[in-house]
């Protein structure tokens, strides 16, 4: 189906996300097999992860602790929880059920704050085990055309936290902001490595549309197979358009699960509501309830590091900007660098520029202290912005002291009196041009100022700061 462009302005998209994150434990949720990514297929299994008859699950304490960390960081109520069997017949789970939580999840009713201050509801965040990984072979990797399937059970039994968000998001940007913030929280508290590309963070997306100004939700579709923030945005955009077109042509939306095809840039129907799985949940008889004591919850709460939200606000206050402008820096974990530099009185705008544009690929060997003294040197005019960038790149590469590195490049700061002597000499050698600079109109002045700056730069081998040269020229022209 080719999509026309319906008038999107009449419509509102309603989005709710379900995020699965693999918890950063050493071993699996219910057995002591290793929880690790990238090993040889089927090298990290045991009777429990393979669902062999007679094997029994024993809950990993660390998984519970990390789940509580997630709950507290998302402002949830941590409660008594019970595991349940989610029954379905599929070879990614050979015992024919997945151990999950159903009516009593470990965390309920919290919220997450987007950088712009809006709070998005969290309905629940519960524990469950991951399934084996199936690769469909043949048919270009498409499920329906595969000629056979391969199964690797390394992932089977890896602890997951499933975070169910409320349908509070309204645009692809909202959805991306939500996932970025959630990812940032999970990484900060050490609950997950949050790598979407390795599948340790997976997003399922519920999308519906409604006429602007109406209260009632439309019929939703769930989109699976979203592997990056980019495809999340694209999938929502496509799906919203598809639904609007259907409604505008007088038809009704059928509740479906749909599959995002990244290559084709569209969603395909996977199954309808009637074909939806009937999971027949019931309490898992092989496990007892989890009732974390208040003392344990307090202890975990006390061990949480400052969260991205707090850090964003703290930095915004220190710089004097809105928290939306500091969220990228916090996501990159660069706020200690920013705070160090700003408390050393470095120019705030220059600090932001370096953190956002020149440190996008990581800080390498750079320390917050070195970054602070470098940006202070730039602020004081000891280094030009280009020189600062060069020194910064070298500090990232090999570390060291900014003063030394600047010196090794010959970027020694010019004494202003030394610079003034050079300016005076150049002026006396080019007195006609100087008169033209003083008496000329705007255009002439600009032209001549460029001429002088060029000569002075040449004379100083580029070590003079252009801004300071201009200042000296202007002052002298008024005398």
């Amino acid at each position: 189906m080719e999509l026309n462009s319906p008038d999107m302005n009449d419509w509102e998209t309603v989005i709710g996300l379900e995020v699965h994150a693999e918890l950063a434990t050493k071993t699996k949720m219910f057995s002591s097999a290793l929880n690790s990514f990238g090993g040889k297929p089927n090298s990290n299994t045991d009777p429990v992860s393979l669902g062999l008859p007679g094997s029994l699950p024993v809950l990993n304490e660390k998984a519970v602790e990390l789940a509580i960390r997630v709950g507290l960081a998302l402002n949830c109520e941590v409660q008594k929880s019970v595991f349940a069997r989610k029954n379905y017949f599929y070879p990614d789970m050979p015992k024919a059920y997945q151990i999950s939580q159903f009516d009593l999840p470990i965390n309920k009713e919290g919220w997450l704050e987007l950088p712009d201050g809006r709070r998005i509801g969290i309905e629940r965040a519960h524990l469950e085990e991951d399934t084996g990984k199936i690769t469909h072979v043949g048919g270009g990797g498409r499920i329906h055309e595969a000629s056979y399937s391969l199964i690797d059970y390394n992932r089977s039994g890896v602890p997951l936290i499933e975070i169910v968000g409320a349908p509070d998001l309204r645009s692809p940007d909202d959805a991306r902001d939500y996932v970025s913030e959630l990812r940032s929280i999970l990484v900060t508290i050490g609950a997950s490595d949050g790598k979407m590309e390795e599948g340790s963070l997976r997003v399922d997306c519920n999308v519906s549309v409604r006429k602007k100004g109406t209260e009632e939700f439309g019929t939703r579709c769930e989109i699976k197979n979203i592997n990056s923030l980019r495809s999340l945005g694209r999938a929502i955009e496509y799906e919203a358009k598809r639904q609007i077109e259907i409604i505008e042509s007088g038809q009704k939306i059928e509740q479906q699960t749909r599959h995002w095809d990244e290559a084709e840039g569209r969603t395909h129907k996977l199954r309808s509501k009637e074909e939806a799985f009937d999971y027949r949940y019931f309490p898992e008889p092989d496990l007892v309830s989890v009732e974390p004591s208040e003392e344990w919850i307090r202890e975990i709460s006390g061990s949480l590091p400052p969260l991205p939200r707090e850090r964003r606000h703290l930095l915004a206050e220190a710089i004097g900007v809105e928290p939306t402008e500091t969220s990228l820096i916090v996501q990159r974990d660069l706020d200690t660098f920013a705070l160090e530099a700003i408390s050393s009185n470095a120019n705030k705008n220059r600090v932001l520029v370096h953190l956002e544009n020149n440190l996008a690929d990581g800080v390498g060997e750079l320390t917050p202290e070195a970054f602070a003294s470098l940006t202070v040197m730039e602020t004081n005019g000891e280094l030009t912005s280009t020189q600062t960038k060069t020194v910064l790149a070298e500090l990232v590469e090999a570390g060291g002291d900014p003063q030394e590195v600047a010196k090794s490049h010959g970027f020694e700061s010019m004494d202003n009196s030394e610079l003034e002597e050079i300016v005076d000499r150049i002026i006396s050698e080019n007195s006609d041009d100087w008169l033209a600079f003083i008496n000329g109109d705007e255009t002439e002045r600009k032209k001549k100022s460029g001429f002088f700056v060029g000569l002075i730069m040449k004379e100083t081998n580029g070590q003079a700061d252009g801004k300071i040269v201009n200042q000296i020229l202007n002052t002298k022209s008024k005398n």
């Binding site: 002591s32 089927n42 056979y148 391969l150």
Partner: protein, 99 residues
């Protein structure tokens, strides 16, 4: 007797479990399951207002294991049970649908 479970429900549950039941088996299981449900329904006669709902027969909670690796299976051992093997993985017929 109240009909505790219909033949269609039994067929549905069998389908979910990928079980192929004959017509005779469907009849047999319908009446057997009805008897089980009848038995469970006896509990409905009891007054349980003052009893806290339980999810497990044992009064235990928080049975936890320390997060330390133990001994797992060797790959060869795991794949011994596979119908077919390719690249250290279980090779199975094409699977329709997705989990």
């Amino acid at each position: 007797m109240v009909e505790r479970i219909s033949r269609e429900e039994v067929a549905h549950v069998a389908r979910l479990a990928q079980l192929a039941l004959s017509e005779d088996e469907l009849d047999a299981f319908t009446s057997q399951l009805a008897a089980v449900l009848d038995h469970a329904a006896d509990l409905e006669a009891l007054n349980v207002d003052d009893i806290e709902p339980s999810t497990h027969p044992f009064p235990l909670k928080n049975v936890l294991r320390v997060d330390e690796p133990g001994e797992g299976f060797e790959i060869e051992e795991v794949l011994e049970g596979a119908p077919e093997v390719e690249e250290h993985q279980f090779r199975v017929p094409p699977i329709l649908g997705d989990s």
